[in-house]
């Protein structure tokens, strides 16, 4: 978990810079923070099981937020097959959208580490779609876009479809990635807000697939290009 400590090392000093405003003065908006997961789950696949997470923590005010995002998956008893961390500064650019700029690290086991500068937008699109789009810049740049929708079956039972697409802009053979060969993850999760919005257990499915030349490379190496898993987990927010 080396990048977790990297995130902490970067995050704490930056967080302290917000702390001066933390004491509430009359009428002055205090510094606030939040931690929430959108994935904290056990995935059951045809061949192997894994544990996956997606966490976002932030501290800041209306003008500026410091955000740490962590996503990854660890196979049961095995490697971190995915490990992505980013630290970014995020600020409002329109009524419903934030812009952000930061640094990201992709450090899974069994593949070379990649470090990126990232710039993107995140926010709420019309019709309540939560979207994020970002450009990751390095020798191996890629575009990433995520869309999520919370469908309220009731006020507590929520069905959340999600799509995440990554589009590599350069070849990265060591990671079995080809320029233009996208990979995508589709999720459908049914959650129930058990304790406020703090604890929300869920079940669902997660489907990941590689396309184009990226898929060709993986096939050539005898690897799967798609994976369907049943998932169960619990999202937390505090």
């Amino acid at each position: 978990m080396k990048t977790l400590s990297l995130g902490t090392a970067l995050g704490v000093p930056l967080a302290l810079s917000f702390a001066s405003a933390a004491m509430a003065e009359v009428g002055v908006s205090p510094t606030v923070w939040s931690v929430r997961t959108d994935t904290l789950e056990y995935r059951m696949g045809a061949e192997e099981n894994s544990f996956a997470w997606g966490v976002e923590a932030w501290i800041g005010n209306d003008e500026l937020r410091l955000v740490w995002k962590s996503e990854g998956a660890k196979t049961e008893g095995g490697d971190f097959e995915e490990m992505n961390n980013q630290i970014r500064l995020q600020m409002p650019i329109t009524e419903f959208f934030d812009g952000f700029i930061g640094g990201a690290a992709s450090t899974p086991d069994g593949a070379p580490d990649r470090y990126y500068g990232t710039i993107g937008v995140t926010g709420l699109a019309p019709q309540w779609f939560e979207v994020e789009a970002a450009l990751y810049l390095s020798n191996h740049p890629y575009l990433n876009a995520e869309v999520e929708y919370e469908g309220l079956l009731t006020n507590r039972l929520i069905l959340t479809p999600s799509i995440e697409v990554s589009l590599p802009l350069a070849d990265d053979p060591e990671r079995e990635i080809a320029a233009g060969g996208a990979s995508a993850a589709f999720g459908l999760r049914l959650s129930y807000d058990l304790i406020g919005r703090s604890v929300s257990p869920y079940i669902g499915v997660n489907y990941e697939r590689a396309f184009g030349e990226t898929a060709d490379i993986r096939r050539g190496h005898g690897h799967d290009i798609e994976e369907l898993t049943g998932v169960f987990g619990v999202n937390v927010m505090f």
Partner: protein
């Protein structure tokens, strides 16, 4: 209250000459950490004099009070005397009137009581007020009450939430709909599709979705237990009466964010006072008390039975029952909560008026569709449209324009009671077609500001010297609240001149009602009654409306001016007002 300013030095001189000390009673208040038990949940909170039951301070008009406030908390505190006319250094707002009261310290407030009526007091520090730091003030008038009663009770409402105020605020910042458990669901869509047709139901969703607004966004914070005098429904606060007696109920809304619709089923309530000032008595069946307002009502229960005092939140997510009974232990009936209201496009009117002309096609909104019932549109102030400073360009209005051609999708009153023309019960201070317009549970009279008339003019009526526009602004999704698009921390103070009469034009460009409170000076609501316009300290500005008030600037110093919803105030809907000149 200017005359008393003149008379006071005279009285002091006379007092000295005659060797008679001015009457000065001393009151003691401790600010304590308390355990709050609502019967539904227990939590740590703050209370005065060690109790979750709000303390009542009884003053006499004309006395000089000395109030010693001891802070037993581990953080600074303050007490603001809400609605009292006093020297600004005694007003109790940290950073504006004084430095606050540090842990362990005792601060002594000293001021003359120049008025009579029902008021309240609360902490103006952090989120201590939602955490429980509030109490009531009852000031007896010199010549006795204008409308005498046999019994006299304070009925103080609050919305006690299991989360601390700081946590509520943090959660709202993290997710503005965190506490909204009355959102429209798939089930509602199916029901609406059944009632209106699928196309209309989808159009309606599309229109709200395009704005990223929720028609259910009436109460920011749900999940609270409302209390009357510190007691939940289950704990049942009870006031005793003998049949036939006149009972004065001093209604005070000390909630963090909740408006209450108050009624005593089976009895008329005669409103005799609003925000401490006597009004011409008006009999109503129900009234809506905005956060920080007070209303004195007189009821006359004639039967030897238990009557309920019902406070139902305006968003219909919570209800509290207290009891009026001939003896302790009796319990008033509980009533079913009425259905949750929905905001309409009329309540969004202010948001649209804040936009540039190019931003939307007003014709496309088909306002004529609203007009079928002969609605009075005069209250719908469009002048805000010129404010190009308010950047709403990112709002996707295209969805509205499309649906505007389809009256099915834009029928703003569909499924809602059609609002009659002017003279509608309690409707004058809401946007025409608003989903928030209250109706009495028994179909009777619901109090509106238009029904309030001062019993005696407090001030000579004169034209205002100037007008100041106050646009109430915000970003619901980000939970940012502001005035004229600027938060308190980024704003210059509003400067008034001693002796002037300022006309405030409140333009609510948000989708929520804001109870605006000016400290230190009275707020006269323009209801078209000239010298008899009601005089208040807090005025609720409904969404999508423009409302005018006037203030005689008769109190030198610096004062707070803000929305009294705790989390809007903390979010930045706040200004410092500096009164320049005048006696020091």
């Amino acid at each position: 209250m200017k005359h008393t300013n003149f008379l006071r030095p005279l009285a002091v001189v006379l007092g000295l000459a005659l060797g008679v000390p001015a009457q000065a009673d001393t009151y003691n208040i401790t600010v304590d950490k308390v355990r709050i038990d609502t019967g539904m949940f227990k939590k740590n909170g703050i209370g005065y004099n060690g109790s979750q039951t709000p303390s009542i301070l009884h003053f006499q008009e004309g006395e000089d009070v000395v109030i010693r406030v001891k802070n037993n908390l581990r953080e600074s505190t303050s007490i603001h005397w809400h609605g009292l006319i006093l020297p600004f250094q005694q007003d109790g707002v940290p950073g504006i009137s004084f430095d606050g009261i540090k842990p362990g310290e005792t601060f002594t407030y000293r001021f003359p009581i120049e008025q009579a009526g029902t008021y309240w007091f609360h902490s103006h520090s952090g989120f201590q007020e939602p955490d429980g730091a509030y109490g009531a003030i009852v000031i007896s008038p010199k010549g006795g009450e204008a409308v005498p009663a046999d019994r006299d009770y304070v009925v103080q409402f609050t919305d006690k939430h299991p989360h601390s105020g700081a946590r509520v605020f943090r959660n709202l910042k993290a997710s503005a709909d965190y506490y909204n458990r009355a959102q429209r669901t798939a089930q509602d869509l199916i029901e609406d599709a059944g009632a209106e047709g699928l196309k209309a139901a989808l159009q309606d969703r599309k229109m709200w979705g395009a704005m990223r607004m929720m028609p259910t966004d009436i109460e920011d914070v749900q999940g609270f237990t409302p209390l009357i005098n510190g007691a939940s429904t289950q704990q049942n606060w009870t006031g005793i009466f003998k049949p036939g007696e006149k009972v004065r109920l001093r209604l005070i809304n000390s909630s963090a964010t909740t408006y209450f619709d108050v009624r005593v089923p089976g009895l008329k309530m005669t409103v005799v006072q609003a925000d401490g000032n006597d009004v011409k008595p008006v009999a109503v069946d129900e009234l809506r008390i905005a956060v920080a307002e007070t209303y004195d009502v007189i009821v006359q229960p004639r039967e030897a039975k238990a009557y309920s005092i019902i406070g139902e939140s305006a968003g219909r997510t919570a209800m509290v029952r207290g009891t009026l009974a001939p003896s302790q232990g009796m319990v008033g009936p509980i009533y079913k909560m009425r259905p949750e209201p929905l905001l309409t496009m009329a309540d969004m009117g202010g948001m649209m008026s804040g936009m540039e002309h190019s931003g939307m096609d007003r014709a496309g909104m088909d306002m004529s569709g609203m007009d079928h019932s002969g609605m009075d549109m005069s209250g719908f102030d469009m002048s805000g449209m010129d404010h190009s400073g308010h950047d709403m360009s990112s709002m996707e209005m295209s969805g509205m324009d499309q649906s505007g051609t389809d009256t099915g999708g834009m029928d703003m009153t569909s499924g809602l009671p059609v609002v009659p023309a002017e003279g509608a019960k309690g409707a004058a201070f809401y946007a025409p077609g608003s989903g928030l317009i209250p109706t009495a549970a028994n179909g009777g009279k619901f109090l509106g500001y238009e029904n309030l008339a001062a019993r005696k003019p407090l001030y000579r009526d004169r034209p205002a010297t100037r007008e100041i526009e106050i646009r109430l602004t915000g970003n619901m999704e980000r939970y940012i609240w502001s005035i004229d698009g600027v938060k308190y921390e980024d704003a210059d103070p509003i400067r008034l001149k001693y002796g002037e009469r300022v006309r405030f034009k409140f333009v609510n460009e948000t989708m929520m009602a804001h109870p605006m409170h000016l400290h230190g000076m009275w707020t006269i609501i323009d209801t078209g009654k000239g010298p008899y316009d009601p005089v208040k300290h807090t005025v609720s500005v409904a969404p999508g409306t423009t409302l005018y008030t006037e203030t005689e600037v008769d109190a030198p110093g610096q004062w707070a001016f803000h929305c009294h919803l705790s989390y809007h105030m903390a979010g930045g809907m706040f200004r410092k007002v500096i009164v320049e000149g005048g006696p020091s």
